[in-house]
Symmetry: C2
Subunit: 407 residues, 2 copies
Amino acid sequence: MPVGLSNELPQIHPVAGAYLGATAAKIKKNGKTDLVVIEFVEGSITAATFTTNACCAAPVTVAKQHLAKTQPRALLINSGNANAATGEPGLVNARQTCAWLAAELGCQPEQILPFSTGVIGEPLPMQKIQAGLPDALANRKVDGWAQAMAGIMTTDIVPKMVSRVVKVDGHDVTITGMAKGSGMIHPNMATMLGYVVTDAKISQSLLEQCLKQAVKKSFNRITVDGDTSTNDACTLTATQQADMPTITDENSPAYQQFKAEIDDVMTILAQMIVRDGEGATKFIAVEVNGGQTEEECLKVAHAVALSPLVKTAMFASDPNWGRILAAVGRAGLVDLDINKLQIYLGGVCIVRDGGRAADYTEDQGQKVMKNEEIEVRIELNRGAVSETVWTCDFSYDYVKINAEYRS
Amino acid sequence: MPVGLSNELPQIHPVAGAYLGATAAKIKKNGKTDLVVIEFVEGSITAATFTTNACCAAPVTVAKQHLAKTQPRALLINSGNANAATGEPGLVNARQTCAWLAAELGCQPEQILPFSTGVIGEPLPMQKIQAGLPDALANRKVDGWAQAMAGIMTTDIVPKMVSRVVKVDGHDVTITGMAKGSGMIHPNMATMLGYVVTDAKISQSLLEQCLKQAVKKSFNRITVDGDTSTNDACTLTATQQADMPTITDENSPAYQQFKAEIDDVMTILAQMIVRDGEGATKFIAVEVNGGQTEEECLKVAHAVALSPLVKTAMFASDPNWGRILAAVGRAGLVDLDINKLQIYLGGVCIVRDGGRAADYTEDQGQKVMKNEEIEVRIELNRGAVSETVWTCDFSYDYVKINAEYRS
């Protein structure tokens, strides 16, 4: 069961100017909701980030091209089929689905951003999408978030949503977001999608900056097994419907407040993906302090967070500090002085002066490791930079899920 | 059971000038052989390579310092305790064991290279080593290879030895080597050690060059889970006892023949470590051709060889080509054109023209995947460089071994 998550949805605050519709178009074999349209009122602006995987899926390529030309009026999302590794026909198909939706909405095909998640390498089932579109469109509404959330899930065990009304420079601003992904790692699944919508009034350049920085510290700071997917994408749309002056100054309190809220929403969504990681029984934060650069902090954090040895020890609730130390050592830092290094499990110092901390006892470590949520803190003591990465443990179920997925 | 290996030792050809002794000094809890001395006749020369892990063990630091000063007269190896993450006392202990052995052999402490493998973070049991040394020394002999092999094993399931007499420019040369390591990945174990001895007459500079190049294409081309150990080391010693002219020219047929044999011996030893990888049920070669640089070939090969998704699919004998393609895509190659890419499983083309090969059938892939030894070949078609990496699959037993190791 996902760590610290439940099946219950939070209270969802609809965002003025965003209309969500969904239907079961039979793309998924289990007959569940799998086709989603999110329409935005005219004047909305959208920023987006996409996977850096060179074998990115057709919808990623098409969405990037469309976004470069104009502002989107709608997102078209299907689950059950990733339209990835489908070559030129995949691109033609992705564009065709945009054309169909554009015709219904009375806009240009370039004003539609397509997204797909699901099995890799199978042709997109075009007839099913064409047949399902009218129904998805017909039921679109501002409070259609729950059905949309259901429509983007694949092997996710729980829905992942955050919704809040916040004060930005004294004005009410709504932010509602959803994400799917069970660790960026699903078998043939092309995985992580995130959609955050706000009614804030904000300039395009600040919206883009805000998304870029928020993703960097949230979705780009989670890892389940290092396998990034071909379809990962995240969008941030501002419908501009809130009663407020437009945010145009990055040094204004309004922007700082807005940015802090978006950071927080995206961080929670990202962590939810890890908490729902395949086979996860523990949620682990790896915090690296005292680094010289962001890059070296991340090298260390990823070496620890991705180490199968550390992850299996976490699964076993084993305070196996030697594995953490060895992972730090192989992270590739130049002139790392092991004698300056400190490693903490929860609040307990486990490594100091080049070896096991003199006052450490196995009992102390064991007590920390029994928790479902564990913090590993690494003090490099050679600079002032900090970075945190979130991950989960590595269990029998991870192997089971990934070995048996297609059988 | 290790893939394609047995418990049987090969025919071992003793190397003139190398005397191996071993004893059970009770460092290992199970009472098995754990202390080894390999003495070399005067005039022998040794080249060595060591782990790049910044948290390297005390014996690694000491061995490097000793090697920089003089030629070794003996190697002193213990298993059961890694003397890693032991701080300053660990260095003092490693030097002390060298001093003890040097006194027995009547040489300088700097003429001894120390090696340790076993549990991390525990103090080296000095009394046991001191007490065991006389016995290990007393039984040293040119045909002591089998007992020495037993003495360097920790969690290895099978011994790993290669021995042969070859012709080098018409002269008989003996090469005998042994390695230990169950995938560089053992829990608290600090893992990979390799010792190759030959009676060849060769210059120090060519011996060093030969080792460096051989290790690069053998021990540095294997991976089980990406966790490199704190104690990895490999030595190549030439006792100079063969009846031949000294090899001094790197362009001579003699050097080329000698180098080819060393390459081959080290490659077989390295592959044995992967075949005995924790929980391994498959031996996998990942061959990348048509790259622009060695670096990019290795990036792709490692992305595939380290992907838990690929490795669990291998365990399941599932020809899950989407996972291999996604791993290639995230390897970080600049301007990788997915449409030029071809991926083969065994001889079967599974990916071509940006997606599943048109003539591929699941049956063909299934047939390849049922084998114990599988070749994944990736044709980048953008250059002339090739690289191969060897790995094993990722099974339930991997998680079991690593989660339960200390309990």
